[in-house]
Amino acid sequence: MTAALVSAAVGLWLMAAPAVLGYGGASADSDRVVGPLVATFAIAAASQSTRSVRWVNLLPGAWLILSPAWLGGPWTAAVNSVLSGIAVVALSTVRGRLSYRMGGGWGILFK
């Protein structure tokens, strides 16, 4: 749950970053689209029953790491994007502690 909340914070930071670091254009649009998505999936993954949703953030995470290569923009935007992306990818791999049994989870529905 801690990892999910930190990941959500990264998403919120991405929403604010263009204003805080002072950049616009495609880099800003990218952050303002990806930020809310990262925050949403992270917050959904904070609950134990939906912890697997954290894997969805691998996609926006990869986008954050790779996209500066063709989005251009100022270096602050690029560095911020790559660092945020690395954090999101790393955090989405952290499962955290699952303290409740839930009848075998979602997996048994497909058995």
Partner: protein, 182 residues
């Protein structure tokens, strides 16, 4: 966000440590949905000119620009009015049924789960549209979106319990789905 462990004897689904349909689990979700409804009603009142001014502590005229934007009025009713209705549906489908409703009323639990999802999805889309399409932010719109997203995770354990119940009773799926004789 595990709200509180709720141990309630036979109402705990097989293989579970707690009952996801217990009131201690559901009341916080219902409360949050009603909060979202209250915010949306307020924003809708401004959109329909019933309230002349709208509260915005951080983003200047951002809230006005967002709430008066064409995107907010794409549909016959404004987005906030639609949101208020969706929150109310979430609260109602979250409240209907007893503490064992994961097996006595699976259709209601699944309806609840299905309604919570789109509300969150539309909220996120609107959050993205604020700065990208209109270069503005709206504090209460963000708060409302946060409410709808916070609801998703805690709602899904109950849905999982109902789906597992239907899976166990797949031989008489529709009877189980409508909660006829458990």
């Amino acid at each position: 966000m595990e709200l509180q462990r709720a141990r309630t004897g036979t109402d705990v689904p097989p293989g579970w440590d707690y009952n996801p349909a217990d009131w201690s689990q559901r009341i916080p979700i219902i409360g949050v949905a009603l909060l979202g409804c209250a915010i949306a009603v307020y924003l809708a009142l401004f959109q329909y000119g019933i309230v002349a001014d709208v509260w915005e502590p951080f983003f200047g005229d951002g809230t006005r620009r967002i709430l008066d934007s064409p995107l907010s009025h794409v549909l016959p009713v404004s987005d906030a009015a639609l949101g208020a209705f969706a929150y109310l549906l979430d609260a109602a489908t979250g409240a209907i049924g007893g503490r064992a409703r994961w097996r006595t009323m699976p259709w209601m639990v699944l309806l609840f789960g299905v309604l919570v999802g789109p509300l969150g999805a539309v909220s996120v889309a609107l959050v993205i549209a604020q700065p990208v399409a209109y270069d503005a932010w709206c504090t209460l719109c963000l708060a409302s979106a946060a409410v709808s997203i916070v609801m998703i995770g805690p709602s899904m354990d109950e849905v999982l319990a109902s789906l597992q119940h239907l899976k166990r009773n797949r031989g008489r799926f529709w009877r189980a789905f409508w909660g006829k004789s458990a």
